[in-house]
Symmetry: C2
Subunit: 255 residues, 2 copies
């Protein structure tokens, strides 16, 4: 049983260094957000990329350049209130840190992007079981051949997450997630993984593989890992992201 922290309490534990784990299942009922921080000179292209690709990049909030105070989490400091960060310098392996205050610059622009944890809650609430959650694994994610729309230096293909859904429940899963465009919305593809360039479901590009039963269909949603992939491919000299699974927990309610 996971401790049901309030968003504020969980962020305080991140700040003090007491909480360093993934945020899935914590602070249930509150929106969690992917984070990407880029220098101001790249911010226009990235904002345009999000505007043109709302399925993988549904914006929750864009902070003013230099600001670390999100409106969606009053009192929070995005430099210390996530459980983990990755600092990316071009040509080097990303550095894993628990605080980015010493990397802060006045020209950094923070993008908060919706995360599928919110729609997973809605699916479970509707009685649609999600195997990776029951098995306490990370969701399976795959690079695809679905092109995103370019925006300046940012270009690349979509990353998707896959959840096995019982054939009888697929329609309902579409309806439920279509109502949540701020957290990726309806599936981008249902069944037939080879059509979007996925050769083997058993070998995801990110996260953990999950078994597909013979009464189930693989259902694919646009994934918040897309912007990180696209940032990596853009040869940006410097940017910061959250560590996978270690999200900003906001005060916004998922409903």
């Amino acid at each position: 049983m996971i401790e049901p922290y309030s968003p504020d309490a969980l962020r305080a534990l991140c700040r003090s260094g007491e909480f360093t784990g993934p945020t899935a299942g914590h602070a249930p009922g509150y929106v969690q957000a992917n984070m990407l921080i880029v220098p101001r000179e790249a911010a226009y292209d990235f904002l345009l990329f999000c505007q043109r690709n709302p399925r993988p990049c549904p914006l929750v909030e864009v902070l003013d350049a230099g600001s670390w105070r999100p409106r969606c989490a009053p009192g929070a400091d995005i430099r210390s209130d996530l459980p983990g960060y990755r600092v990316h310098h071009l040509g080097q392996a990303p550095e894993e840190v628990h605080d980015i205050t010493r990397y802060w610059r006045d020209d950094l622009v923070t993008f908060l992007i919706g995360c599928s944890f919110s729609f997973e809650e809605a699916l479970i609430h509707a009685g649609i079981a999600l195997r990776h959650i029951d098995q306490r694994r990370n969701v399976a994610m795959y690079a695809t051949n679905i092109p995103c729309q370019d925006a300046g230096r940012f270009k690349g293909n979509m990353v998707v997450s896959m959840r096995p859904i019982k054939a009888a429940d697929v329609s309902r899963a579409v309806e439920i997630t279509a109502r949540m465009p701020h957290v990726h919305g309806a599936p981008v593809h249902i069944g037939q993984p080879h059509v979007i360039g996925i050769a083997d479901l058993a070998r995801p590009d990110f996260g953990d593989a999950v078994e597909l039963m013979d009464d189930e269909v693989p259902v694919f949603w646009a994934c918040g890992v897309t912007p990180q992939q696209v940032a990596r491919q853009s040869a940006l000299p410097f940017y910061i992201s959250h560590s996978p699974g270690k999200m900003l927990v906001t005060d916004a309610r998922t409903d």
Copy 2:
């Protein structure tokens, strides 16, 4: 009876100078868009303004700097295919022109923004009469005290459009327009105009006044004139907009 042109045919008539009137009612079933064109140096702030204020500024498309070819209207040239434009130079009255090709620069970024013509079609289709359309007038628009969220140089209050709706139909009008967030979405205010700083419904700030019957409630929607107001107040040295009511007709279906 208005001629039901196809979007392509209507744009060709604009290009040749044969069509110079307002676009309301033409090319029914197709999305029409407000247009604002700003230099690249102001584009980040304006894109951020739209991201932070999606009700008055629902983005349909943002073109690459220097591009005049919108994806939402294949074959169109936004420099010639609207019936009329306003070219704004700081400190001067806007210049009304039918073609902006001679003003074009490689650093100009075109923003296309959703327009209420689309949700009006949905309301009428649902049997909710709209008096300004029956009377062939422009919709009544008002400056309000509802602040938009600032984004850099762009700041200001929201402009709203008002439609008298029968009290029995207000709930249905909310439901219908809430389903159309790409064209302003649900009303921002219902009844009690003084609460949002409107002293006299009979004196709109833009458009034409319309009578309110005693079985009706004034219903207010965020209005696409907001970005033009905000651009005017931002002291931008140069920008271009469509002429009021003379929209870009796109190939996107309203449904």
